[in-house]
Symmetry: C4
Subunit: 232 residues, 4 copies
């Protein structure tokens, strides 16, 4: 049995949630799970349908994006995952999907405005949309640069990856992360729900105001603050 | 066996309907069922996924919002339920969800206009949207004040909770109620359908008129009036 | 065994298709099937959930809307069915739903424009929307008058119920019919699909033209004309 | 056993995917699979519900559209398939559906703009919409002419059927193709997803720009280029 069996299992289970949550069709998405002690992560093999996945065909990759174990080629987005794990110390899992509503916002190149408490339960700010990458970045090491584009976007907006666990890459699609692969998947489904409701909100009331500060703070604090009283 | 077993069962069954009716994902919603004689209600525990619910992990709470029986922390919205039960004598169940279309209207801070007989079968008026709460109310006892905001909204609009069994809380999401927890869940699903159709109606015809009085009265009366002839 | 067993079975089977085709929630809809020789039809009982239906609890009603056999009260829309059967000699089944997109068009009080061949496979004209009824008609024998409103609408637009098997009742919802109850259900599902696509078409291109005459005729003729070559 | 058993099986399997992928209701669609050596293709029989299909009731047709084997009448769109197989040497399967979003774009008579990398993973250009056919073409050999309309559309836009495997026929609906029937079905599902996201993108940002050239090339090349690194 592989010494990476635990993250292969974790990545496998998390990948299998994507079609169940209607976040992907065919092979449109990937999840990884990291082992910080070993400095590697397990990720979906490229282009393999979800029904053919097993824990054993997850690919083990290091933070430079090189395969450490596994017979299949890893996801084409592997280097983006590698960069995020390498720069952000505390995340345990990463998800990339082309889910319908979040991708539409990414294609629109707009941040998703914070319109309600569903959003505020997860973020105190608009969900950031990184601008499309420069031609130089695209023509270079593209997936590697995608990771840097995400990191730069949060930095320029003064956001902390420990608090904001989701981003749109302009013209492309969403990435989410979290303490575990399962939490990163959870965040992808929440992002899709928020993206859908934000579009509808603007359709119902084109001048709908952003959520007021008192509600933003209250909802985030009751779920994430020092005196939080949500959950067990 | 608990002396509250009957409301634990009722609350459990009603909570389990929410994901089946596509009104919630993950833990986004809660249902309670009241025992008027005992002055308590059973409510979903906070942050527990629906697949892990059992009748036994429902939490028994009194009308001041204090836990009477149960090992888990009750829903973070418990005090809102407590206020509504304490002020409204005849309701037997309450539901809170973040269902997609009803929440989008709440985020838009608009009442849902009465456009058709589907709406009139349930309400003779626009579905009210309570304004977002004042900063003072939010920073105080938030969930308790949410209950008061709902009660005030109906009062100011001259509406009777026995006839209008659904409300939107501005920037937040819907609450519904009814004679039983099952009826309150039914109302949540109906509200979601009405919210969806109202948005589509405005998209198809931005100057669609509200339903005329004769149709409003006819449909409500045939379902709820003295000479009603709907149902068995 | 009832002498009406065959239409009870037919009505039962057709009613059970409505939730499977996502055309109804709860008790929002009803189907009937007629026996022309006996001058009666079988219809869903009022307010009974689909999961509780059986062939035996279908109600047998004559063309005056009076119950001939059955312990339960028939659908509240029974008199509308009775009028249509009595005026239109060749129809064998009728369906009423509050399906989402068709109902939104009814609430918008607009005919559904013919934008494509999907529509033309079923109708050569816009799907008619009957105007809301006069207050006098509503306050009188409402469901009976609804039937007359439908008949008048087709007459005024010069349409033949043998060719146009679907209508919207303004501010209310769709009715469809056909040679059998199953065909009437089929028409309800097709209407819902056409209603959805017509809304999207206007959103994508607000000045989308109606389908040209040559295509309307070609598609309708290949499916319904003397030289039809669709189906077996 | 038929000498065409392999394409009957292939066409049957591919047809059965259409309802599973929510691309058709009732009999709204058809798939064919070709045997180049024999100069024939297997196609769905006309108007037969998917649940009644078997490999054996697929119809074998030659490139002139004449039935070679089979008791049932072939799909009414058979001559369109025949023309495409006869003109385009390397395609192995063809799909026609009336899927909701792709059909709405066809009804709108607009090409689908390339807004993101999901689109670029499949095409470097807007998805073409052929203009509605001339009255002469419609009144003549309609389905045969539909095939020519598709071929002319690609030719006039300078597109190669080996690279662009999907088209909208104005006022009608989409056609897709591929090296196998399964790949053609895959393309139909992808087209539907792209069509949905493009509509949402324009709703979120009416002035959303088309995808920049560097991203178009990068995404297409990494999946289809000489140095492709997507898949196994």
């Amino acid at each position: 049995m592989s010494k990476y069996q635990h993250i292969k299992e974790e990545a496998y289970q998390a990948n299998m949630e994507l079609p169940k949550l209607n976040l992907v069709i065919f092979t449109f998405g990937n999840v990884s799970a990291v082992d910080r002690a070993e400095g590697v992560f397990a990720i979906k093999p490229s282009g393999v349908p979800y029904e053919d996945l097993t824990p054993d065909n997850m690919v083990i990759v290091d933070f430079a994006g090189e395969t450490v174990e596994g017979k299949l080629r890893p996801s084409s987005d592997t280097k983006t995952h590698a960069v995020l794990y390498s720069k952000w110390d505390t995340i345990g899992g990463i998800v990339h999907t082309h889910s319908t509503y979040a991708t539409a916002w990414a294609q629109s190149q707009r941040d998703i405005p914070i319109f309600g408490t569903t959003h505020a339960d997860y973020n105190t700010v608009d969900i950031p949309c990184a601008p499309p990458m420069s031609d130089l970045m695209i023509q270079g090491n593209y997936e590697f640069q995608t990771g840097h584009q995400i990191i730069n976007c949060l930095q320029e907006k003064g956001l902390n990856y420990k608090e904001v666990e989701m981003v749109l890459v302009g013209n492309h699609a969403p990435f989410t992360w979290g303490k575990t692969a399962a939490k990163a998947v959870h965040n992808s489904a929440v992002l899709e729900a928020i993206a859908h409701m934000a579009l509808l909100t603007e359709q119902i009331n084109p001048s709908a105001p952003r959520l007021k500060a008192a509600l933003i703070n209250k909802h985030y604090e009751r779920k994430h603050g020092a005196g939080s009283y949500y959950g067990q």
